[in-house]
Amino acid sequence: MLQRLRIRNFKSIYDETIELGRFNVFIGENGSGKTNVLEALGMASAASENKLSNDELALRGIRVAKPTITFSSFLKEKQVKAIDLELLIKTEDNLNVNISNQLTTENINDIFSKWTLKDGILSIEDEGKPISLVPYYESILQTNTFDFLTRAFLPLMRNYSTPEKLQRFLIEQVNTLLPKTFIRSIQLDLYKIYNLSTQTLRGIDGKSRAIPGIQGENLDRLIESFDKKERELLEEYAYFIDWLEKIEIDKEDRHKSDGHKLDMSTSILYFRDKYMQRKNNRFSAENANEGVLHILFYLALFISRHTSKFFAIDNIETALNPELCKKLVEQLVKLSTKTNRQVLITTHSPSVLDGLNLYDDEQRLFKVYRNKKGHTKVKRIQLKPNQEFNGQQFKLSELWMRNYIGGIPQNL
């Protein structure tokens, strides 16, 4: 799990630290910087794999901008020409690993300028006690990596007059591998920001070949890849869509010629409507209502064994009835535990808040806002300890809408 994320100097975020849980929901005004938080993590992810080209960033859902506006540029502050990202990862054996990433670029005025990463392990702690990295080096040096390194650096040997110098050099090299190893251990390297488009879900206008893509590309292929267990799990949730009788994948795209699609959609996903006459009850993704496509995408994303364990969703409420959205979130929370995901989600829907149980520390709610200097701030909304049951008196959605929580414009 990523336990803590510190972001400095990225877009509207001047210096902010966020303590994450498993299921993290962000609310706030338009322009408060919610998406920037998701993107900052995307930068860390991309950097760890050296996938910092504009195309690669865009495929993760990051809006690529000129470095001059990617670095924070607040009034009365000198612009720092580096993005600093600090990640605290809790490993499965309960180590706390603190990783730093610093991103710089050659020409800050050039949108095509290449990004450069400087990363490293700041510390590793075991139950609060700092531990030495040496065993880690050793464990790595004992593996194939070591053979590889030895061979790779053999020609350089002569440059290192003493074994100590060579060792120091190798440790430096390993040091750059380590952060990536930990980042991979939580699948942060595979992180993407999903922001669905109905058209794309329908199989029109998709741009990504990923299964699935960030705007909802290839939902049909994702479901096709399901094994029996996944399929059964998905079908358990069919009750979300009252009229849904059956989901079909038309592997050979046979129905296309039946005139089910205007030939614009590449999707081979079909639904059957139980209220309609059997001969006329098959709908292509192109013709289905948008709600079913959004719901199905999120469920499939959380169920599939092929999707990353770590991802973000921007505007999860799009096109969904508020009550449905609440129940969906409630189920996604459960799935996130079941299939071991860590997720960051932004929303403008009050109902999403009602889908959370804030007594569970794994489910966290944050409000994002600008302080008086314009800096993005992220504040966790927590409950008082031992709050008595109060008979529905305080629904989170209503507290938010009635302006008791913040995160809404007060003076429009």
Binding site: K326, L358, Y359, E388, F389
Partner: protein, 227 residues
């Protein structure tokens, strides 16, 4: 016309919904479940579920709603136009508990059902301080809702049931054993209390079936005839 339901359980809501659909030709959209709260937020739900069970015997929650008036005010007195009613459903099984405070008459008394019903109705009116009298219907089940559903599965008078739940379960088990199609469908409708009861009382949606059924249960009949 829109009808709100304040009931002891989600299953009770489903049964009343089916009765209303059959009786008044209503759509599901015309029926609002006000208690139990289907739309509770999850933070509250967690708190609720951690409450000691004794604090929320279901009739006490119906009583609480009646006394607090909030739901009645929000549904009946809100600014939206339209004809609206609320059905209050309560079982008599626990009527002698503290706070409910009703003495049962002798079951042999031919007016047992009607007397008990009147007593409970009076109690509800007391809780409500006699407000909204024209907009309330009383679904008082003697002694449990299962006695009403039972009428759909057996030709027998269930007006003064003995252990209504058990009797109905026994009858249902018999049906499931002999009717394979029913058993298969029953298996498919287990996800929630609501769905289960909705399935089992589906026949009430047909007016004819409903009219037949109410001849077998006095308290169901009284409820239906109140419309």
């Amino acid at each position: 016309m829109e009808i709100g339901i304040i009931a002891e359980g989600k299953g009770d809501c489903a049964v009343l919904k089916n009765i209303l659909m059959g009786l008044l030709d209503l759509d599901e959209e015309d029926i609002r479940f006000l208690r139990p709260d289907f739309n509770m937020d999850n933070t509250d739900k967690a708190a609720y579920e951690s409450m000691p069970l004794s604090e929320f015997s279901t009739w006490t929650l119906v009583k609480k709603d009646c006394e607090e008036h909030n739901k009645f005010r929000s549904f009946l007195d809100n600014p939206i136009a339209g004809e609206r009613y609320i059905i209050i459903q309560i079982d008599t099984a626990e009527c002698e508990e503290k706070g409910y405070d009703i003495q049962r008459a002798d079951k042999k008394n031919p007016d047992y059902c009607e007397q008990l019903r009147q007593a409970v109705k009076g109690k509800i009116d007391e809780w409500l301080q006699n407000k909204w009298a024209d907009q309330i219907h009383y679904a008082i089940c003697i002694e449990e809702m299962e006695a009403w559903i039972h009428t759909l599965y057996e030709k027998r008078n269930t007006s003064i049931p003995v252990k209504a739940k058990e009797a109905f379960q026994k009858c249902l088990a018999k049906h499931l054993k002999t009717n394979k199609k029913l058993a298969r469908q029953f298996q498919k409708n287990q996800r929630t209390e609501f769905i289960k009861a909705d399935f089992l009382s589906k026949k009430f949606r047909k007016k004819k079936e409903l009219m037949k059924a109410l001849e077998q249960n006095q308290s169901l009949k009284t409820f239906v005839l109140s419309f």
